[in-house]
Amino acid sequence: MKRILTASLFGLSLATSGLAHAEPVKIGVITTLSGGGAGLGIDMRDAFQLAIKQSGNKDIELVVEDDAQKPELAVQIAEKMIQGDKVDLMTGIIWSNLAMAVVPNAVAQDIIYLSPNAGPSALAGANCNANYFNVAYQNDNFHEAMGEYANKDYKNTFILAPNYPAGKDALTGFKRYYKGTLSGEVYTQVGQTDYAAEIAQIRASGADSVYFFLPGGMGIAFMKQYAQSGVGIPVMGPSFSFDQDVLPAVGDAALGVKNSASWSPDLDNEASKAFVESFKAEYDRLPSIYAAQSWDTANLILSALSKASVKDKDAFRAALKAADFKSVRGDFAFNNNQHPIQNIYVREVVKDGDVLTNKIIATAFEKHKDAYAEQCGL
């Protein structure tokens, strides 16, 4: 009898401890793991997985899928994750055209989506959503910073970006703060690899500087061709064209280029140093801005999970919005449209030993907010 009693007590205690412990959480990660944009998605995924691993939280289950940078594929994966895997949260999308295809539909089905990179303007203003959190930036932000910084040295800039939502946001952002004249404005194809025609236009335009937003392989191709073309006027860009994922392939052509970002490997705060160190130890390479943003996304989710159950949507959204986590970017808060209020820095590409990396040289904006927040009804 006594034995039965102990056994049942033991069983009960097991059962209750199971209850007291947080319930399982399923996070769907859709990101680009193949094709020309794979470097960005892999950094995103690796940092996310590392953050979850370090937290020691065993209740989180990740469902990771490759979108191959194709919107139609991303939509299918999202449907499968929502209907089939019954995920609680979604994250991971790098590209704005994919985010536009997936996010509005997912948040309408009451799935909370946290963006680790893409921040299209269409989702930041009147169409903001309580279920949509952008942990990275609004697309315009880095470009606004560079537009502001360019006022210092340049009067006549040639700007170019790919023809997709983030490309248009980029040039809009740059123009919002840039006071000089534009000697040319060109939209290229997404995934374009040859920029000879555009470089010829830059040469003929008489510009005193070039601003370009070409993430991933596009930027590598542009920089290599530009360096060889003999045009020679200074270039600048957002961090996406000069980050850790592309610098080794661009080579010394990138040395000295100024670029803007919310984070840099040399940013002086505890969280950032710990992040860079553990990322290097785990993967034997320096993290990119995509890795940093993804690390923050994971830590934001972890902070909210420690406060509220993911099943109680209202409480969980409030816990996310509090942004009570140690960001690698230092001060971090959400604006009313659930996009970040953060500092944007100007960095310069430098050589640290044999490795090309970035170093912060100025702060373009402190506690910067995006231009669309006012139109958001949240």
Partner: protein
Amino acid sequence: MFTALLIEQLLNGLQLGVMLFLMAAGLTLIFGVMGLINLAHGSLYMVGAFACATIAAATGSFWLGLVASLAAAAGVGALIEVAVIRRLYDRDHLDQVLATFALILILSEGARWLFGSFPLYLDIPRQLQGAVPLPGGGQYQLYRLAIIAVGFLVAIGLYLLISKTRLGMRIRAGESDREMIAALGVDISTLYTVVFALGAALAGLAGALVGALQSVQVGMGEPVLILAFVVIVIGGIGSIKGALVGAVIVGVVDTMGRFLLPSLLALTMPAAQATTIGAALASMLIYVVMALILAFRPSGLFAAET
């Protein structure tokens, strides 16, 4: 200043065309001789670029890398032909497309497994760095001029090979009647392997040359492959001359469209709109040209008479 820009853009179009020719020549040769649709041709382009980048990084010499790219692409091509493609000649085109699509996936994932997902570094050789002055006050990148020269040399070489040598005679014979030349005692399976390896080597050469300009990464071959198919459809399937003319048309039309359309549209509408619409129209332009050419010459400009 405008003439200089125009000359520069024409050269850019020519360079793009010549690069497409290197891809399309192999593709059209393989289709013409063996009747095989090879979707994996873009992967051979990638193999060439990766081989060049790896050897150039190890030895510090771009030229050794270039040799390696030819050898690696031809080697992989011959291996694929013997292992897979040989079994496909008698199947219909759907089976060929399926099998060669599988090869794309295998080669891409293989490259990712060996080299990782991050782009590799490959720079232009020191002798070809920098730009040269153009008539009219412009400047042009020396390396691109070198690519144009290589492309035309390859075109002349292929012409001589096909019209003047015994191998070329067999290739032409294989194109018109493969049963007959087999009956005449020509070792048809070796001939096929040689033609496939030759086509692969040309793709590898294109990959290595372009890899130094762009980025060497997994999946770099597929966008070029689509353009190469457009080229051989315009030029006439199976015709090397057609591939050259088609490639130059596609290269020049694409480059000029990207450059002229936005400024032409700007005459009739606000500048901001003109740049967006112009960019969108420019990306469709080569397909419009292809449709127009096919409307008047349904089997391409220089279709082989079969």
